[in-house]
Symmetry: C2
Amino acid sequence: MGVTPYLRLDLDVLERNLDAMAAHARTLGLALRPHAKTHKCPQIADMQLARGAVGLTVATIGEAEVFAAAGAGDRFIAYPLWVDADDADRLHRLAEGGVRLRVGCDSAEAGAQLRGLPVELVVEIDSGHHRSGVAPAAAGTLASGLADLGMAVAGVFTFPGHSYSPDEASAAAADEAGALALAAAAMTESGISARVMSGGSTPSAARVQAGSMTELRPGVYVFGDAQQLELGTIDWSQLALTVGSRVVSHARGRVIADAGSKALGADRAPWTSGYGRVLDEPEARIVALSEHHATIEWPGALPALGSTIRIVPNHVCSAVNLAEEYVLPDGGRWPVAARGRNH
Amino acid sequence: MGVTPYLRLDLDVLERNLDAMAAHARTLGLALRPHAKTHKCPQIADMQLARGAVGLTVATIGEAEVFAAAGAGDRFIAYPLWVDADDADRLHRLAEGGVRLRVGCDSAEAGAQLRGLPVELVVEIDSGHHRSGVAPAAAGTLASGLADLGMAVAGVFTFPGHSYSPDEASAAAADEAGALALAAAAMTESGISARVMSGGSTPSAARVQAGSMTELRPGVYVFGDAQQLELGTIDWSQLALTVGSRVVSHARGRVIADAGSKALGADRAPWTSGYGRVLDEPEARIVALSEHHATIEWPGALPALGSTIRIVPNHVCSAVNLAEEYVLPDGGRWPVAARGRNH
């Protein structure tokens, strides 16, 4: 049986997913800069770069350090960093040897903190997700202010996170394209060229039009997850990562498995069918999740006590960040090297 | 500023919380066997044992191993274990030197897997949470079946998890008491003495009556969290653990802080006000949570960019399990030694 729960990585599926997104970006003429926060694994970053990715996207300085140590590509920290003196030292080290380092910025104040550091700024805009980022029309003013501080401004980026809702991906992709165009025009008007127009979530990536941006930053596409399945972004054959879990109880005629929120993550968007899905049993429903129990309503005969089932987490980024390693079909292990690197 | 997000542990509050639960259990004449899955930290286990805890509760063999290595008390794995040969070896090692080791069991099949191992079984019953466990009336049949296999049966346990709902804690505590009494009677009738009658969640613990059980197993009480606050189990002065988080953006007039679901956990029960609370600002609402962003609607003037705020996670067990260490007020660090020990 082995130790459960564990992250089971199917390399064949992973490779197909990587190939497909690389081909998609090539067809559209876009640079692919995949978000490595999903996998946190140098081996997978190398596979992405070998397929033509121009570099990596990361969420934190700590993730950038892990991939820099592994030698993988250049890096864009797609986050509105607010840096202190320690962070500044770390950014200096990340840029040693002239490696290109880009960081997000959504305010003049945050830009002032970054002054003098060997980074290119990318202005974050809000394309409808309403998280961080300035309004697209304000990108020109912010960019010229940053340039006045002596900073290099490479362009604009956005995360169309409102694509994570049923039937919203096309509208979110259209919002994203419109916002990037508006922001780039505002920057041009302010005398700054938006060489980089960066966008893309996994749900919206398939809907992106050629010419609407220069760079795509999807993350989850490498593995897929139950959210992507239920959004219709992928089908079952595209699920590369599952959580191997042991059936420990048949209480009340249901399956109780040993993968809980400490293995799967507690993510549950209101539109999901439950706390994940079960591979090979599409009709099963994970109706409750404790820290170490998944409660699963199962159609027909229950899998035997002690048997292993494969659970598809709702949000694979969360599940990966709870584990130390991936288990490959041949028993090999790859590290989740950037696990917990939240800063 | 330091590295954010981080787990900030207030020792004064922790000690008051530990003292109060120890006194509560003493007053009721109950053994206190706190659930160490919440803190995963030998230093805190030692503080609990120093205040009279009879031993620890853990969720997994791996957690038991961490606390055994630290020498802390004896252990009850309050989980319906299904063991394979490796697990059996680990249980043998855990019991070396005659240390008492109890494990949960809710089926004859799981009991058969445990046959010959140096463990006492505690029959799990369902007192209304409807997760694992047999019906209380079935405890006698299961216990006598396990005894027939040559197993030592110590008694019964339950987790009244339905106490995690507004205004349900008293009813859940009553359900728990009734179920334990019924199960103990069923065991007696089957010729097995239920020496152990173990119960208790943090919300129900305050409602437990003397004589309704022999042992209490609360976990979250050590730190408190936003769920306990919103359930009314605790007040703000009892919050010992917060996540120090940096304000990185004021986009759209809100606070964007750098503690997301990879620091706080994604837990969000339907009855909560948001994805956690903010210490010192009861009116703030965490309206959205991404992996590295908390979006907070803030009353009045926003805290400055770059300042640190303290976020109270919804479910502290999840937040602790995402971090490597606690940061103490004096800058000291305690390890989350059992982080990720899911098996």
